[in-house]
Symmetry: C2
Subunit: 147 residues, 2 copies
């Protein structure tokens, strides 16, 4: 019996009602405390497929691969039509939304920057306009003395 | 032999070297012109798993499910560790980048809007300042007549 899980059979061997050997390839990745994880993977990929796919990987990459397959299997159990594609479609929609929002904010920035440039260019003219505006106003001037 | 593929065996039956019956569940979704699609699906899920999963779905949803599974299988063949999770991780990274960029553009907008508000508030004062600036200048005024 595998010593990895403290003398207990791994979730795979427990599910398949078989002895869990010391060299069980699935034991390190399917702890008996999480039987649902293996049930999903078994339902979608099949136990022998999973074991074979892990076997073909270097040991240090197996945990990540088991996690990724468990994740894919979980989503296919939840959504038998789209599986993890539903997540991808959702993320693509989010990206599209974020890109649209980004385009809008960029456009807003462009408008505000144009305004700012215009302001910087026109400020001296505005002061000048203010000057002429004052000049246009009838200033109170005393009558000129007749010289 | 299935009439769906013009009398030819579907990709699944051809791959598995079996007769393709009229009611072959895989024939509508695995055309003989694309043997790689079925090869991927078979390698990752197994032919019987795929057939069983499609059988459990309503007919009108099977094409979408077959596409999604073919897609997942394709990515797992390409990347045996991460599979389609690599795409998800990439998309999540893209979302994170877009959100950061969005935050930056929003901050930029806030700064520009603050500037604009400040400009709107200060413009009348600037005109007033221009007025006082003119007042500070010694205006040429003729001497007042002694009345």
């Amino acid at each position: 019996m595998s010593s990895i899980n403290g003398g207990r059979r791994c979730a795979a061997c427990k599910y398949l009602r078989r002895r869990c050997s010391e060299d069980c390839i699935l034991a390190p990745y399917f702890h008996p405390s999480n039987p649902y994880r293996f049930a999903c993977v078994h339902k979608i990929f099949g136990a022998s497929n999973i074991a074979r796919m892990l076997q073909h990987l270097p040991v240090h990459k197996r945990a990540q691969a088991a996690d990724a397959m468990a994740w894919e299997a979980y989503w296919r159990v939840q959504d038998p039509v789209y599986g993890s594609n539903a997540i991808i479609a959702h993320l693509q929609h989010e990206i599209s939304k974020a890109q649209n929002e980004l385009e809008m904010t960029r456009a807003q920035i462009a408008i505000l920057q144009t305004f700012q440039q215009h302001h910087n260019q026109t400020q001296p003219n505005q002061q000048l306009q203010a000057f002429w505006a004052l000049e246009d106003k009838p200033l109170f001037l005393p009558d000129l003395p007749h010289i």
